[in-house]
Amino acid sequence: MATPRIIVVGGGLAGLAAVIKIAEAGGSVDLFSIVPVKRSHSVCAQGGINAAKNLKGEGDTTWQHFDDTIYGGDFLANQTPVKAMCEAAPGIIDLLDRMGVPFNRTPEGLLDFRRFGGTLYHRTAFAGATTGQQLLYALDEQVRRYESEGKVKKYEGWEFLSAIVDGKGVARGITAMNLRTMELHAFPAEAVILATGGNGAIFGKSTNSVVCTGSAQSAIFQQGAYYANGEFIQVHPTSIPGEDKLRLMSESARGEGGRVWVPRKPGDNRAPRQIPDAERFYFLEEWYPKYGNLVPRDVATRAIHKVVYELVLGLEGQPMVYLDLTHIDRDTLDRKLGGILEIYEKFVGVDPHEEPMKIFPGMHYTMGGLWVDFNQMTNIPGLFAAGECEYQYHGANRLGANSLVSCIFGGFQAGPNAMKYAKNVAAAEGDGGAAKELARQAEINKKLMTNEGTENPFRLWRELGQTMTEHVTVTRYNKGLQKADEKIVELLDRYKRVNLSDRSQWANTSFAFARQLKNMLELSRTITLGALQRDESRGAHYKPDFPERNDEKFLKTTKASFTGTIAGPNLEYEDVDIQYIKPRPRRYDAAK
């Protein structure tokens, strides 16, 4: 048969990894991305990528990596795919190394590794503190090579709107919108891979990039795909609060010896370096002597919240704590952390070599995402997902430096699996439903463009972000979650009266945003109601009213399906694959 045509949506690490595998296997790829793929959000990843290469004589193994990941994720992840990922990780590092990623090196010319959260091993390979940038570029370069050979066609500046699903429920392509001409097109394909990243924009301000709205996942969810574990949202302990976003301050700062502290005395307004050691409260080191500053992110984030909100020890009474690198020599800092120190200095105007940084937790990552099977396929046949937009590898909490490896591994699985599927799928009948889907999208566009009302989409978004951040992040109460859902329902209603101040048909960014906003609202209900229904505490999901993990009831994957009714999504629960490691209590105050 002819070369299978496969569509990949999203040009971050997962999407590009899938593209490379398909092109290498002789497939033909159409790659869709809102931004030029080199500007995708993977570029923001800082600290590194995990692989148990055991180059530090510590006896690290892929099994240890697997166990740390499962334990760090509070046993919610299906174990078979996580085990496969950890076993593949050393080979992935080798490949990236061969592609020219400028990883930091040991004096002997080998890869250097540093420590990261939730493990006691040096397992994280890194390129300064801009590892995501370097990995993304390496894959981008390989894709550019295939592009110049005609195996990949890029559609940059196009936004995915929906899957084309035929009468039998099989994916036959996508519809997308050209973000300059605002024209809609249907693109047929034998298989589609969604690699559309995270959904930080739902929380207003987060460490995510502007394009990380979760809009594509939500669109697919509304077309019948399951969305799994949506309630598991990672709040990174160390970000720099800002007006437009929360800028990430990498975990690698602590991996290289950074220490988190506040003055022991409330209201101690001395300059930080004037405060003697005995009068500093290194709370992570005191509370978690074994892991210290490198406890997993959910643990560190809750500790910072406790220090600020319960013990009222925030700096100058504000929600901030110190992240201190000033005891480390300048040369080491520049060599290993240069990129992030530059970000702090540029955006805050203070030199972190000389003065401790002021940081606070910020929304960072979604562990939940589209439900996929072990072949990365959603419940819509022919529609695959990889990377942060799917739920598979991190359970209830992701360990630092596991995201890059899960993106690349997921893409490496999705690509060949989509090829295999595409070679065997029966041809579509007629146009596979393309014309019908295109008409549906055109109707949505027409309605939005001519809608009369008074609501500004950017203001609705701001209200959504405030509600989600207040009620659906670090500490969750059922009353607050109910309030949040009521607010979202209100916003959905007000969205019907959304008014675009720009009705032009050329590079209309507010129009594109208004479309994304609708999808954000729908997805935020799934996150909120998933959290409401899960009456336990597990990983990043913490309810003070239900402080214990409840395996009997909730060692289960949440699967949400769209109903289109005011009641919100339907939630069902699926057993977790725990065949390799028996669940045990998760605690970081002692060795596990």
């Binding site: 400028p102 390129a127 300064g128 550019r144 800028r247 590079a507 507010s510």
Partner: protein, 249 residues
Amino acid sequence: MANKTVQFEIKRQAGPDDPANWERFEVEWRPGMNVISAMMEIATNPVTAEGKPTTPITYDSNCLEEICGSCAMRINGKARMACSALVDRLEQPIKVEPLSKFPLVRDLQVDRSVLFENLKRVKAWVPVDGTYDLGSGPRVYPQQQEVNYPLSNCISCTCCMEVCPQFNEATGFVGAATIAQVKLFNNHPTGKVFKEERLRALSGDGGIQECGYAQNCVQACPKQIPLTTAISDVGRDVIVQKAKDWLRG
């Protein structure tokens, strides 16, 4: 007392063939505010300083931490990233314009795809055999890594091209960013197999000889990439390559 505000003058243009005009905006000041957050604020209430309703401003942005390279524009006449342009350090009214050397799309959005095309021309990649497991890569000593890593930090923002007097239609000059990538890939133990091809790609019209050593590029680069060093290193290699090719006849 009225809240402190920030004054902006933003160049607007509905499309490539439409006339340009300037609009004034007054935005409430916030601590740590940058040019992007002001434009986000304008989108929530798109009204000019004169009280005239207008449209939200079209611009490229993504990461907002100066690593994705999207939001390059001219701010008070200087090509730079809008996310790291803190309003407290800028003279007001803050004048914001699109980059001038690239085709305009709308408002502050321009088409910079020429850079990505240039990267194809010089084969800016390492030709690996395949993605299957072939063991670890070549040894690279820290001293080499410390040369290559800064070059690999290029965010493709095109500021170096915008400020270059030689980067224009008359010369067709590729610009500093591409030349620095040639140095990066020629340095790589495997990447260097294309060294001669890359150097030849830079030896004709629009190639490295168009550089006039104005040194604007290295000053404009938000990532402090040693662009002029790269240009002189690659320039030397191009001359050597030309001589070799001439001798080979």
